[in-house]
């Protein structure tokens, strides 16, 4: 089991646990505000955008090239941006903190 903490735009902290699937699915299942997951996780909608807490980047690893291409045009993207449907849930993520990026 990995503990994953989301911080919403409203600064609400939601900690959830999971051991399979991707992080977007976990967020949607737990009603994390601002994570819509419109495309169901195929990297086509960018409604699952998070900023990884800088101290935890090693846990999530880097965005793939296709993911980077999507993020490149998101006005709200920075060097810590990830589409969380592209992050698999595993032990390695335990303790990670993800901030919902929102659409502005």
């Amino acid at each position: 089991m990995a503990k994953i903490t989301f911080i919403t735009i409203e600064n609400e902290e939601i900690t959830v646990e999971g051991d399979s699937g991707n992080v977007m699915e976990l967020a949607v299942a737990n009603n994390v505000a601002g994570i819509d997951g419109d495309c169901g996780g195929v990297c086509s909608c960018a409604t699952c955008h998070v900023h990884v807490d800088p101290a935890h980047v090693a846990k999530t690893g880097e965005a793939s090239e296709i993911e980077q291409d999507m993020l490149e045009l998101d006005d709200n993207a920075n060097e810590y941006s990830r589409l969380c449907c592209q992050i698999q849930v595993s032990e390695q993520l335990d303790g990670v903190i993800l901030r919902v990026a929102g659409d502005e």
Partner: protein
């Protein structure tokens, strides 16, 4: 070639030039073909505007047949945001379980009707019915109203082929005017009433603005959903093993739906008007001329999609642009996706086989390109499990 195949006519031009050209009623269009270029242009709303003369960003242009501005799609930021903030929650209702149950009931009935008939003409007798009945949910109005829209036939906005038909469009516009007046007199909990009682950017929506939203809701989701549904039926007719696989592995429904939507690209492209002299992959674009964002071509971009011309039902990374990209991405995408999910699941559950008896392709002529976007007619026999 299979009847359900939608070939990619843009490949060579995409690789060699990155753009294509077409003439549209003496207002030429530079078609942007590569995925990255399409995304970049969609993102640069300041340079490539949507809020041009109403009807001009649609290809073929509708400037000759309408003056009503479609909202929010022909409005640019910052005004655009107020409209999207109002409409997004309403158009996300398809995520609610109650909505999904009602939609499933509608789709089951359409599939049952098809299974009970000897032969079905899919465009009129399956897709149009399904789309119209599902639209009553999105508008939150009585189911019976769908009969009126079905009676219009599939071509209420334009005649066969590319020619525009003002008389036909008037049927829809008059209908919407009448519905708005009705809702103004007798407000309910339908979309017309909700819009009439809403404020955007600090002021109440005018009847003309409500009409602009409603026209878009009718027009944007009609041909596109009909194409997606009809093409899916044709695909499953010729790939029965796919339907069986989805039945056996229900966990791939989502990737399968996204892949069908990528491959079909039910809307070929959408235009923008350049606000300044600029360029798209080194081709000059002059101020006040049009470009189009060619979703159909971008979805086959070999730089991003391995085996772009094959339907790979479990394609995991699928950054297609069938619902557009950026600020103006498709407002009806949630509803459309829900329709496709329910339809694909229902077909996998109830249908043993589909046989194509007869078909007539719908091919768009776009300057140097001919693109098959779907069917004018598709006669099939459904067999139940």
């Amino acid at each position: 070639m299979k009847k359900s195949a939608l070939p990619d006519p843009f490949e060579q031009a995409r690789l060699e030039k990155g753009v294509g050209h077409m003439d549209d009623q003496n207002d030429p269009v530079t078609m942007v073909l590569g995925l990255k270029d399409v995304r970049k242009c969609a993102h640069k709303w300041q340079t490539f505007q949507s809020g041009a003369k109403p009807g001009r960003i649609v290809v073929p242009s509708e400037v000759a047949i309408r003056e009503t501005r479609q909202i929010p799609f022909e409005v640019d930021p910052p005004e655009h945001k107020g409209f999207r903030d109002l409409l997004d929650p309403w158009f996300k209702r398809p995520l609610e379980p109650e909505y999904q149950d009602k939609l499933a009931t509608i789709i089951h009935a359409v599939v049952e009707e098809a299974l009970n008939a000897d032969e079905v003409e899919v465009v009129e007798e399956f897709s149009l019915r399904l789309q119209s009945r599902a639209l009553t949910l999105l508008l939150n109005i009585p189911y019976e109203e769908a009969q009126t829209w079905i009676s219009w036939g599939t071509h209420v906005f334009r005649s066969e082929g590319e020619s525009l038909d003002g008389d036909k469009a008037a049927i829809l516009y008059d209908y919407i005017d009448a519905q708005i007046d009705k809702a103004a007199e007798n407000p309910g909990d339908d979309l017309y009433s909700v819009l009439l009682n809403s404020e955007v950017n600090g002021k109440k929506l005018s009847k003309e603005e409500v009409k602009g939203v409603m026209i878009l809701t009718f027009a944007g989701g009609r041909d596109t959903v009909i194409n997606a549904v009809t093409n899916s039926v044709a695909y499953f007719a010729e790939h029965p093993e796919s339907l069986q696989r989805i039945h056996d592995e229900p966990e791939i429904v989502n990737t399968a739906v996204e892949e069908l939507i990528r491959y079909f690209a039910p809307l070929t492209h959408m235009g923008r008007v350049a606000t300044e002299d600029t360029a798209v992959c080194e081709h000059a674009v002059k101020a006040d001329t049009r470009i189009s964002l060619c979703w159909a071509s971008a979805n086959r971009d070999e730089k991003t999609f391995p085996n772009p011309n094959e339907v790979v039902l479990d394609r995991k990374v699928n950054p297609h642009v069938s619902f557009g990209f950026g600020t103006h991405n498709c407002l009806g995408a949630t509803h459309a996706r829900q329709i496709m999910h329910t339809l694909v699941k229902t077909l996998a559950e109830k249908v043993k086989s589909i046989e194509i008896v007869d078909h007539q392709d719908n091919v768009e002529v776009l300057g140097e390109f001919n693109r098959k976007v779907g069917f004018h007619a598709l006669n099939v026999k459904f067999t139940a499990k």
